[in-house]
């Protein structure tokens, strides 16, 4: 499109110079097209700003994030490991009707993943009935044999789920991937809103944006609801790997918002099949752990014996039913990218329903036919390792070099079950501020976005209205992960 070539006059509103990408679904233009009375204030207030006002907005937002210390850590970067998650002040808007559909679809999805986990670590009916091949699960690196004897309270394996959604060129939402291990990002959602509320208070009021403030209360409520034996005032603690973890800010933020203790493995101890934390006045029993530590590091007696982050004996405490953990051990099998391909079948199998939100067409490369199809046109597919998350190891065919494609081909042939392939989804785009910090005037350009809503499962499901809109700040880039140079926007779900 050559957006940079457009001359931006100082007096011209940023919106006037905006050109949507060809063949891409532009969410703001779509909303304007279907314009109801309440999306127009956004166009008027934000998009009709002169470039200098937009630059000012960006600068104020950045100063606020820096002052609030809203940062994430980047692994393997030497220069001061704390970074600000880049923020774009143009909000992404979702109308009430679309959200109602998404909410139902998200609840359906998290419930089915939960049902699947209960089945995998329970009777295994779905294998016996031939809906999901048993060897796919047993061979999955995220399958945890140790989880088989643990019966989580309420049967809840998943307490917090983050479901990544994308919109293709037709504007339809699809599930891109599920995150039911330790999904992160919700602190940015809440802090983005705090900043936007200060930047454009009138606009948020005029648009009647749904509040997201309840999330920490809802999370705590769900955690209390899964306390063993239905204890009425359980002691909840958030288990963090510590200040060097990339999501440490979020761990601190959530424990603060919920008013629960933030603990590291070394603060906890197991005795007589009960879990305790070491307080200044001795040991105090812990009933529910919201853990942000991966399975592998949770309990050196069961998983990796070199882990310093976990608590020796934790798995035994859980098995004895004297504590609950969220999410449960072994949930990783449900967000495996090969298992993902079976989720529509699971929804039909467990609930007799059709999926409300479709998935992206997925080729399991362990199948010979699928593999041949994909390897023939590798440059047309996205290849993903089945077990990884956070965008690590993803190869995007059309953007990959000959050498990368060749390496990927070799890796697939060496271990086909470790990969899936999907056609490239041309993610929807959204007006985004470009050049916010440069000397030249900033302008708006379309950038690819996705959405990670957060679903809570306690005695009943609760969904945060909206979620984390991530934006690929580099022109043309499809990778929105924070670890790979993505940024975020505030997500506005409008009141019905």
């Amino acid at each position: 499109m050559g957006m940079t070539a457009i001359e931006v006059s100082k007096s011209l509103p940023v919106w006037a110079a905006y050109r949507a990408g060809e063949g891409l679904f532009d969410e703001m233009l779509d909303l304007a097209k279907r314009s109801n009375s309440r999306s127009s204030p956004i166009t008027e207030a934000l998009l009709s700003m002169p470039p200098e006002a937009l630059a000012d907005l960006c600068a104020r937002a950045e100063a606020m994030f820096r002052r609030m210390g809203v940062t994430f850590n980047v692994y393997g970067s030497e220069d001061g490991t704390e970074r600000i998650f880049p923020f774009d002040p143009i909000p992404r808007v979702i109308d009430a009707e679309t959200w109602a559909m998404l909410e139902a679809g998200l609840i359906q999805r998290v419930r089915v993943l939960n049902a699947f986990l209960a089945d995998v670590y329970g009777e295994g009916c779905i294998f016996k009935d031939g809906v999901v091949p048993r060897d796919l699960i047993l061979g999955c690196p995220q399958f945890r044999r140790a989880a088989a004897g643990i019966r989580p309270p309420l049967g809840n394996y998943v307490t917090v789920g983050g479901i990544d959604l994308v919109r293709g060129p037709d504007g339809r939402f699809h599930v891109l991937e599920d995150n039911v291990r330790t999904p992160s990002g919700v602190s940015y959602v809440l802090e983005n809103r705090v900043v936007m509320t200060r930047l454009v208070p009138d606009l948020i009021r005029a648009c009647r944006v749904r509040s997201i403030e309840r999330y920490p209360t809802d999370l705590l409520q769900c955690l209390c609801e899964i306390a063993p034996g239905g204890k009425s005032h359980p002691t909840v603690a958030l288990l963090t790997p510590g200040p060097y973890n990339s999501a440490f800010f979020e761990h601190v933020f959530l424990s603060q918002q919920m008013g629960v203790e933030l603990v590291e493995g070394r603060d906890l101890v197991c005795m007589d099949l009960k879990l305790y934390m070491k307080t200044v006045h001795g040991l105090r029993q812990v009933d529910v752990v919201y853990r942000r530590v991966d399975d592998d590091f949770l309990d050196p007696m069961v998983f990796r014996s070199d882990s310093q982050l976990g608590v020796p004996g934790l798995a035994a405490v859980l098995r004895a039913g004297n504590a609950a953990i969220a999410n449960a051990i072994g949930t990783g099998v449900a967000d495996d990218k090969a298992v993902y391909a079976y989720t529509p079948a699971m929804i039909r199998y467990y609930f007799g329903e059709e999926p409300i939100i479709p998935i992206v067409e997925t080729y399991l490369l362990r199948d010979r036919d699928a593999r041949e199809t994909v390897l023939k046109d590798l440059d047309r597919y996205v290849v993903k390792p089945t077990g990884a998350s956070g965008g690590y190891g993803v190869v995007i065919g059309p953007h990959a070099s000959e050498r990368e494609l060749e390496e990927t081909r070799l890796q697939i042939m060496r271990d086909p079950a470790a990969f899936i392939a999907q056609p490239v989804v041309s993610l929807s785009v959204h007006p985004t501020v470009v050049n916010a910090r440069a000397e030249t005037a900033p302008f708006l350009a379309p950038r690819h976005i996705d959405l990670r809503p957060f679903v809570l499962l306690g005695a009943k499901p609760r969904v945060l209205p909206g979620g984390l809109t991530r934006v690929a700040l580099r022109e043309g880039s499809l990778i929105v992960n924070s670890s790979q140079g993505g940024g975020s926007k505030d997500t506005w779900v409008l009141e019905a």
């Binding site: 002052r67 510590g242 603060q256 203790e261 603060d267 070491k278 200044v280």
Partner: protein, 313 residues
């Protein structure tokens, strides 16, 4: 309250108090040198000696000139107790316990931390040494005010106050020592104009000059200065006030413990010793010895607090 968290709270507050007193001490020395032209070739040496950091300093600096000493005490990344490092340590401790601090306190601390990262030796030229320290003291007052205005009076608050008061008792003793032991002018100057100017500077840097005037009137006398800085229970930076608060906070913390607290006993002993002393007596018997005893007792209390409440193992 987790032991690890209590430890972080204690050190956050203690490092802030330490940074504040370092600022006060450097400022008072600077002021003394302006008001009384140095006879000494190394007028900044006493300050280094007070902190027992002469050797560490000389490892990295050729001479104890003003620029080097200012840099060492404020900006030096290799000096663990430089003001900037104290702020950095306080902030990194606080980062691990943001769930225990009010968000206002975190914001204030993070703002100071971000400002401290921008400091260069240029700040001593512009806005100049006085302005720099004045601004810094304002930041510390602000943080103390936010803490008292926003934190619930629970264990988190108690451990922070404990850290602050322990450091304060130790540092006020140290500051008095700077003047009395090391800046003692020649015998013929005692009670002279220069001597009085120096005592006024000491009071001012403890924010005590006005309190002094209110209580004793205009004339500055050594025994009265010692009285207000060590024995005045109404003056918030005196040794007796700090140790009294310190003991109250240990008592509150210990109240929920089944066993008797050795730290509380040690704090009670120090408080009794201070209460039993009189300015004239300790000046006669050796003020330096008394001040050293206060500092050593604080170190002992700190060690007992660590053993009883903070050590995680």
């Amino acid at each position: 309250m987790l032991k690890r968290i209590a430890d972080h709270l204690f050190w956050t507050a203690r490092n802030l108090e330490r940074a504040e007193w370092r600022a006060r001490l450097v400022e008072v020395n600077y002021q003394l040198l302006i008001e009384t032209p140095p006879r000494d070739l190394q007028p900044w040496e006493p300050l280094l000696a007070i902190f027992g950091e002469r050797e560490e300093f000389s490892e990295r600096y050729a001479s104890a000139d003003e620029a080097s000493v200012l840099n060492y005490f404020t900006l030096d990344a290799d000096n663990p107790n430089s003001i900037r490092n104290c702020i950095n340590v306080a902030r990194s401790n606080a980062r691990a316990l943001r769930n225990q601090l009010s968000s206002e306190l975190w914001l204030g601390l993070n703002t100071l931390y971000l400002a401290a990262q921008e400091w260069t030796p240029e700040v001593f030229k512009w806005p100049g040494v006085f302005a720099y320290f004045a601004e810094l003291k304002d930041s510390f007052y602000q943080l103390a005010g936010i803490r008292r205005g926003t934190m619930p009076r629970d264990l988190a608050y108690d451990f922070m106050e404990l850290g602050s008061m322990l450091e304060r008792a130790e540092d006020v003793a140290r500051m008095l020592d700077v003047k009395y032991h090391f800046l003692l002018p020649r015998l013929e100057d005692v009670g002279g104009a220069i001597d009085l100017l120096q005592w006024a500077a000491v009071l001012r840097s403890a924010s005590g000059l006005e309190a002094y005037r209110k209580r004793y009137g205009g004339a500055i006398r050594v025994d009265n200065v010692v009285d207000i800085l060590l024995f005045d229970p109404t003056f918030p930076r005196s040794a007796v006030y700090s140790v009294g608060r310190l003991r109250a906070f240990i008592d509150r913390i210990a109240a929920d413990s089944p066993e008797a607290s050795a730290a509380a006993a040690a704090a009670g002993k120090l408080l009794a010793e201070i209460n039993a002393s009189k300015p004239a007596e300790i000046i006669h018997d050796g003020l330096h010895q008394f001040l050293l005893h206060v500092q050593d007792s604080c170190a002992e209390i700190s060690e007992l607090v660590f053993e009883e409440y903070l050590k995680a193992a």
